[in-house]
């Protein structure tokens, strides 16, 4: 019965998503309308000479499509749908240990390379956390797109359950907040399990500068 409900929801969502393809805010309301198929044709043309291996990045997955259509503010039923779907993707470490090495985590948080078309397969990937978040108070070059994470673990009394939540958030931010602007680092296999554990340690180790 639950399966059936989910299937019905999915079908309804597909229709809902296409009916919402236009930006909906007051500021964007006077923009002309266009068939989503036309947009996709332009997108295909813009990455026409892209190699086969890279082309998949241009294609939206269902969640990206839903969030685009909802302008990242999905309503009740869609909100639940996306959260449930994304939650199911979160893979915790087999041994249940989510806290790694905070010093290596600091490197992951600082590093902004990897996965760009100017990088190679060998380029070490980073989470580029500082691009959007304040973390250690000693680092003044931080972005403001995301909330400040100073004292993250300390504010949560270094609670192991909260560390597990942080692992899930980094693995797939949309499992916590559907249509979050934060990349789904584990879901996309952009960061490894060990890298995510190390970032969790950067947030939760009492010795980490994030908590100083």
């Amino acid at each position: 019965m639950k399966m059936n409900m989910n299937m019905i929801r999915t079908v309804m969502l597909a229709g809902f998503a296409s009916s919402l393809a236009q930006p909906g805010s007051a500021q964007q309301a006077d923009l002309p309308k266009v068939d989503p198929a036309v947009v996709e044709a332009y997108v295909a043309g813009t990455w026409r000479s892209t190699s086969e291996g890279w082309r998949a990045r241009v294609v939206q997955d269902e969640t990206q499509r839903i969030c685009t259509a909802a302008r990242n503010e999905p309503s009740g039923a869609v909100f639940d749908q996306v959260r449930d779907k994304e939650k199911a993707t979160v893979a915790f470490p087999a041994d249940g240990v989510v806290v790694g090495d905070w010093q290596r985590g600091a490197q992951v948080a600082q590093r902004g390379t990897g996965g760009q078309f100017t990088d190679t397969e060998q380029t070490v990937r980073g989470g580029n956390c500082y691009a959007c978040h304040q973390m250690s108070k000693a680092e003044l070059s931080y972005g403001t797109l995301g909330p400040s994470l100073t004292n993250y673990g300390k504010d949560r009394k270094f609670d192991p359950a909260e560390a597990r939540n942080a692992y899930a958030k980094i693995y797939n931010a949309m499992s916590v907040l559907p249509c979050s602007q934060m990349p789904r680092f584990g879901f996309h296999k952009f960061l490894s399990e060990q890298q995510i554990k190390d970032v969790v340690a950067y947030l939760f180790d009492p010795a980490s500068p994030v908590n100083k």
């Binding site: 393809a21 236009q22 930006p23 805010s25 500021q27 964007q28 923009l31 002309p32 309308k33 266009v34 989503p36 036309v38 947009v39 332009y42 997108v43 043309g45 813009t46 990455w47 026409r48 000479s49 892209t50 190699s51 890279w54 082309r55 990045r57 241009v58 294609v59 939206q60 990206q64 969030c67 685009t68 302008r71 996965g115 760009q116 078309f117 100017t118 500082y130 691009a131 959007c132 304040q134 108070k137 000693a138 003044l140 070059s141 931080y142 972005g143 403001t144 797109l145 400040s148 100073t150 602007q181 934060m182 990349p183 789904r184 996309h188 952009f190």
Partner: protein
Amino acid sequence: MTMRTSLFSAAAVALGVFGAGLLAGQTANGQQAAPTQQPAQDLSEKEIERYRAMISDPMSNPGYLNVDRGEQLWSLARGTRNVSLEGCDIGLGPGKLEGAFAQLPRFFQDAGKVMDLEQRLLWCMTAIQGLDTKDVVARRFSGPGRTSDMEDLVGFIANKSNGMAYQPQLQHPKEQEMLAVGAAIFERRAGPWDFSCATCHAAEGKRIRLQGLPDFSKPGKAAQETMGSWPTYRVSQSQMRTMQHRLWDCYRQMRMPAPDYASDGLTALTVYMVRQAAGGEIQVPSIKR
């Protein structure tokens, strides 16, 4: 010319070194003078603004070398027809350059499509000069020891709209379609980081690290100032850059594949951005970090 080049190069090096030193210095100062988070941030932004003002001196802007080269390229006869680009219609009639950039992108009847300046120049090279644009496209972005005809020509032509305001051309149905597509691509999330343009450019006063991010989600000052200052001389890259390069670099950081140069999707985005920048004054080439 050689002397001018070396003078400009020296100035660029000095700017680069000075800029880096200033940024490093201000970080230390910020830490000392401001123990709490908010003042440190304010101080950083103030210092960055001061740095920007210092490098925005037209007399020491190497981008004007590109403008000079672009002027020569505009009147250089080449291609199978051995003619110059002076017969090229950028929108206001053949050879009429004053104010033309301020009304781009626009629909061109002869080509049957909406084009930005770079698309239009490539079209004119092919249709008027009979020039094989393969080499021009290969050199679309300059690098060490490699100039770009496109960056030079865009610098020259865009400079002819200095002091004028962007007038988005949105009457033709194809221009309307481009605007709608551009707005949709702006919001379209994709790739291994789930990003769209709106991820970084849909709120006021946000930063990546210390770099301010213009808000393109609504018409206004941020969009006007940004579009009014491209093309620009990038001190960190020691090159003149056009909006095609800026968008290419955005998609690189978004972990998307490289978009095709002078493709219609990028022009659609430009139509959208120019629409948000309506009325913004053009002063180019500017000079940026």
